[in-house]
């Protein structure tokens, strides 16, 4: 895993773009909104997972914009079944590949398995299936497209919606400041399953994302990558700011970029001097109603979480004792 290194920078290494693979596996012609940060992330994840990969995808924005019969934007073998079960579908694919491989029925290299789902399909309705698949130790990578609400159905809140955000089911009003709870920590939940690789990634740092996905799919066993998917439509931000907002999320510590390898935390993008969270909140209409006390709270909580993360990165102790299951049979 060390051979992939990490992208430690706060802006792109200028000419690295030309060295990245040119072939598009998530083709043009998909119907995402203009400036969709999620589509940008999907484009690069699909390049990173390699040609010999099977994708199981949950119902959601990326599934809908890319698969209206008869048009598909996917060049990979791809299956969509329902909203909450993509991890279970991926488990079935993984098991089938196991038995087909044992029986000598696979021609060519054994394909990788990648499950993809939005924040709703991952941290809410899909949590059970995800937990089951992680616990059973299937050989697959789960990628969560976190645009922080149920965007495809019209911007309703999920457990990934950040505190104070406006959504249609957490609207600000005389008796409400928007989303009442703090964003659920999916990375911690994934780590709690004792899986070998967990990471956060962002379309603000596409090379970091690319190499993390490469690492995730090459890691035997389950891997989980949580991708901040900037959504100008739901976040009420300008369409041309999607990459910039993703970068601001990391620069303000709202969405730090790190990986957890065998339970050990490591920042992959260092931010020597953090920016205030209001730099991140201001360009987004979904936070427009927030006043000083709420912004203050968000600032304090963000820093507290970040401090804890930094402690974990420094800690000599991993989150779990390494589990290396003995081979049987």
């Amino acid at each position: 895993m060390d051979k992939f290194g990490s992208a430690e920078s706060t802006k792109f290494d200028t000419y690295a773009s030309r060295m990245m693979p040119r072939e598009e596996y998530f083709t043009s012609g998909h119907r995402s909104c203009q400036g969709c940060g999620e589509a940008l992330a999907v484009r690069w994840v699909c390049k990173a997972i390699g040609k010999d990969t099977i994708i199981a995808h949950a119902t959601g924005c990326m599934e809908i914009v890319s698969s209206a019969i008869p048009q598909t934007a996917w060049l990979h073998p791809w299956i969509h079944v329902a909203f909450e079960n993509t991890s279970a579908v991926a488990s079935g694919i993984d098991a089938a590949l196991n038995i087909l491989e044992r029986k000598g029925k696979l021609k060519g290299p054994r394909p990788k398995v990648v499950a993809m789902g939005g924040d709703g399909g991952t941290s809410d309705i899909g949590l059970q299936a995800l937990s089951g698949a992680l616990e059973r130790g299937h050989n697959f990578t789960y990628v969560c497209w976190d645009n922080e609400a149920y965007m495809n159905t019209g911007i309703q809140r999920s457990s990934s919606t950040p505190f104070g955000a406006m959504t249609t089911t957490s609207p600000p009003g005389k008796k409400s400041i928007g989303q009442k709870t703090w964003k659920k920590d999916m990375v911690a939940i994934a780590v709690a399953h004792g899986i070998p690789y967990v990471a956060t990634a962002s379309p603000g740092y596409l090379f970091d994302l690319y190499f993390k996905i490469r690492k995730a799919v090459e890691t035997p066993g389950p891997a989980y990558v949580h991708v901040l998917s900037v959504c100008p439509t739901g976040w009420r931000s300008a369409t041309d700011l999607s990459v910039r907002l993703a970068r601001l999320a990391t620069e303000t510590a709202v969405f730090p970029l790190y990986e957890v390898v065998e339970g050990r935390h490591r920042l992959t993008v260092e931010v020597p001097k953090l920016r205030p969270v209001k730099d991140y909140l201001k360009p987004q209409g979904r936070f427009r109603h927030l006043r000083e006390p709420e912004i203050d709270f968000i600032q304090k909580q963000t820093l507290a979480n970040y401090e804890l993360l930094l402690q974990k990165c420094k800690s000599p102790f991993p989150e779990f004792a390494p589990i290396h299951l003995p081979q049987v049979g």
Binding site: T14, R18, T27, S32, Q34, G35, P70, L206, V243
Partner: protein, 96 residues
């Protein structure tokens, strides 16, 4: 299938609704959506390829001379303008 998909008979639909042509979405020209388009100032462009990297549509392609330009799929979101290192891209209204 030369017939438009909304005229298919039930017998003409693939079993299970499976789509057997990967990437068939390329038939849909998302460029029809845009109301403004990016324009490159080649005198300032350093051919770094960052614009190509950040386009959610894969709507930017490299030209034979190494410069980059939008292709037919560009939706006009403007991310490339904001991310360009030299600031050589600007948005102009369609039709100008």
């Amino acid at each position: 299938m030369s017939k438009s998909w909304d005229q298919w008979t039930w017998q003409e639909i693939e079993i299970g609704g499976v789509l057997t042509e990967p990437g068939s979405a390329r038939a849909y020209n998302t460029g029809d959506w845009r109301s403004s388009r990016p324009m490159w100032d080649k005198k300032r462009c350093i051919k770094c390829g960052i614009c190509w990297t950040v386009c959610p549509e894969a709507g930017i392609s490299e030209e034979p001379d190494g410069y980059f330009d939008m292709n037919t799929y560009c939706k006009g979101c403007g991310i490339c303008v904001k991310e360009c290192v030299t600031g050589c891209i600007s948005m102009v209204l369609e039709g100008e």
